[in-house]
Amino acid sequence: MRLHYYPGCTLKEKTTNLDNSTRAAMEVLGYELVEPENWTCCGAEFPLTEEKIVGLAAPTRILRQVELEGGDKVVTTCSFCFNVLKRTNEALLRDPLKHKRINTYLRDDIKIEPLTKKKTTDFPEYSGKVWVLHLMEFIKNEIGYDKVHPLLKRELKGLKVAPYYGCRLLRPAEEVGIDEPDNPHIFEEFLENLGCEVVDFPFKQECCGSYLSISLPDAASEASYQVLRSAKLNGADVIALSCPLCYYNLDRRQDRIKEMYFDFNGFPILFFTQILAWALGVDEDILGLDQHYFDPRPVLGITHKAEVAS
């Protein structure tokens, strides 16, 4: 089955492991992921000023392209892209004037085919009706765990996973929330259905430091350390997440965290799609486990031995 999939820039550069594991897992589940043609960056941040229309141009273009290609829904895995795309739709539907202005603005787009030099102008209006879904939502509601269970190839029993939501999946709850912001379950449910043991930890919705990573790196290190420490304290083997920025702060930042906190010796981080793909029997090499700062392979390796012959 064909399914529109918006990877976002980070997945093509820093976190190809997220992209590759998503594709591999979805292939096993029977989906061909199609990227909308000529997709651009989503903008990474949803513009918070009311009058800033131009910030909505990029995400609206992406959604319009999906619509042009006949898609009615688009799936993302990056929490930031999901947040921006979904909120853009919400903003357009809530404010008809804004909807009209952005469509007027985008009508003047010009597309030139590189080979034929053929020009396309007068783009149609975007209706605001493309359904933006996070992959976790898609698997839960559109595929259904009962369809996933028979395809599971590897036993993950005993793997203690702490689901880390971060902020973008849950807030602002009334616009994007894929679950209750203060008491979410969707990630836990996802992991349980893959056979993992879920570890609840109080920092699962706390901030990783986000973009402070650039302006105040040590503040981000401190925030990330608290998350890592709490997961470890609660008995987790590994943290699962869906956001490339959280991944950067929690994994890549660990060399600095080690310098700052003597009690910290590193902790494995996995994307939720890596766990999904692993459980579905995808080959280790595709998952990009060697890209991680802290090697997560031993954690999966333990389970690797208990693998059920496929």
Binding site: E180, P181, D182, N183, D200, P202, F203, S230, L233
Partner: protein
Amino acid sequence: MNGSGKKKNVGLFVCHCGVNIAGVVDVERVAKEMEDYPDVEFSTNYVYMCSEPGQKMILDTIKEKKLDAIIVAACSPTLHEKTFQNVAELGGLNPYQVEIANIREQGSWVHSDKEKATEKAIKVVKSMVEKVRANESLEPIEVGVTRRALVIGAGISGIQAALDIADHGYEVLLVERNPSIGGHMIQLSETFPTLDCSQCIMTPKMVEASRHPKIKIMTYHEIESISGFVGNFKVKIKKKPRYVDENLCTLCADCEKVCPQVVQDEFNMGLSFRKAIYLPFPQAIPGTYTLDIESCLGLWPIRCGKCKDVCDVEAINFDEKEEIFEEEVGAVVVSTGYDLYTMQALGEYGGEKYEDVVDGLEFERILSASGPTGGEVRRPSDGKVPKNIVFIQCCGSRDPENHNPYCSKICCMYTTKHAMLYKHRVPDGNAIVFYIDVRTGGKKFEEFYQRAIDEDDVLYIRGKVSKVFQEGDKVIVWGVDTLTGKKVEVEADMVVLAMSMVKTEKVEDLLRKLKISTDADGWLAEAHPKLRPVESLNAGFYLAGCAHGPKDIPETVSQASAAAAKVGNLFAQEKLLHEPTIVPVIEELCSGCGICVTVCPYGARELDAIKKVVKVNEVLCEGCGACAAACPSGAAQQRNQTDDQIFSMVRAILKG
């Protein structure tokens, strides 16, 4: 008799209401122009018609001019119609020969153009002359009163209301859905601001109610339905099977010892356990065991039946069945109490997740001498004495965006009490209270709060808590001190959430069946927020206690006594008088189509199957006129508001 169309001597009295009316309407011109209108025998104006001299002028004129009817052009009839009807009666007129022309609320107050407002006032007065010309003299409909009250809910409010009504000399049925009377108050430890032991002051009331010859206590009973009208209600009551004869049970506790089924004890808020056959608490009234059928293994001796085997007095009867019976009462006091907002709704405080995060009522049980810890402050998870305890106020209150918009009113004081009692029992412990405001509006409340700070060293931090989570055996509290602008982190051993009071879900169905009006938050609505605070809009229903909104004990008791006094007023009347301006049926015109039966909101009309005409229960009819408007054949004519009268009024207005 003053039939329609006959000549009547009508007197017109135009009121200035100071400048309220006279500031916009030229009252002198109204009175002057009306002098020549047919049937108007006398017309005048005066500054305050409702004043003593104003009333006297009307009275004298009625006698002097031998008036048959009067019109007072003044404020809305809801304010002074009664006043002028009384004056008319003193002058020998039938009160239904009085009409009010509203030229204030629907005149001077909503218009500014003097000329037009005056012309409108004249038209309104003219239309009232047309109406009053055809008014019949009516006598109120008399109804008997059943001098017996029903009180729903036997917490402190229900018990107090029942005691007061019974002391007036009237019989009371006190119905309670739980196995014992007592409500929430019997669960409390000590009460603010005096630190009286709640049980010590509550149990005498309970005993008094149970011994009172005029009070019939019906515990483990529920109301099925109430029909009828003020003074004459019929109540269907369901008796739930208790499977234990309360007259035979000797409280020997043998049955409890052998019962194999262990469930959470709701009296202790789930902090301890009870058996399926249980006594809710030692002072329960009636003093009898109750078999909770939902937790019981089953009523067949093959399955279990251990309790029946050991009961020497043979009080246990597995064959008991649910019964529904009918009682007649004249008034109903609704005192169904409150619930606490669930901790689950505040996921960020983890009340459902962490054992050592408890709500206010759970902490009351922990503090209570009869509680699961015998009054020692010990936390639920491991029984340790908490050395650092955090109280969080306004949990679910004063938060219109996410939770309840209202102030739960009692939490500031009970949290102060909690902190104080904690410090009395754990003097070396730290009690920290996070608050938005401390509201101490009550007698000796502010002094109590100051005492907690000054004498008991309770630390108050102004700010909200963002998150509570477990780390090791500590409960970490993240908050903010808004006075210093600093983030605060407390490593607590235990956290108490002052959960908001909310309406009881359990009685929602009942209230819907009774059609008792509630406000936006689900609390019972009073007839008037200031002047009729203990009456429901539904005649014959009275409100007491927290079912009407959050209240502390003194306020609850006052309201219960006030409701009882109102019931007394009702029962003291020889006969109840009902407005006669109802809508009867002209049988010759009625086709028996039944349309009026379906539109009547009071269930006052029914189709006579044999005569094929509609019959009206005069007492149930409130004279709203819905049927008169719906009747296609003109058979439903409201008294003193007939179609002919309305048409003549319309003509008078349109004529200019």
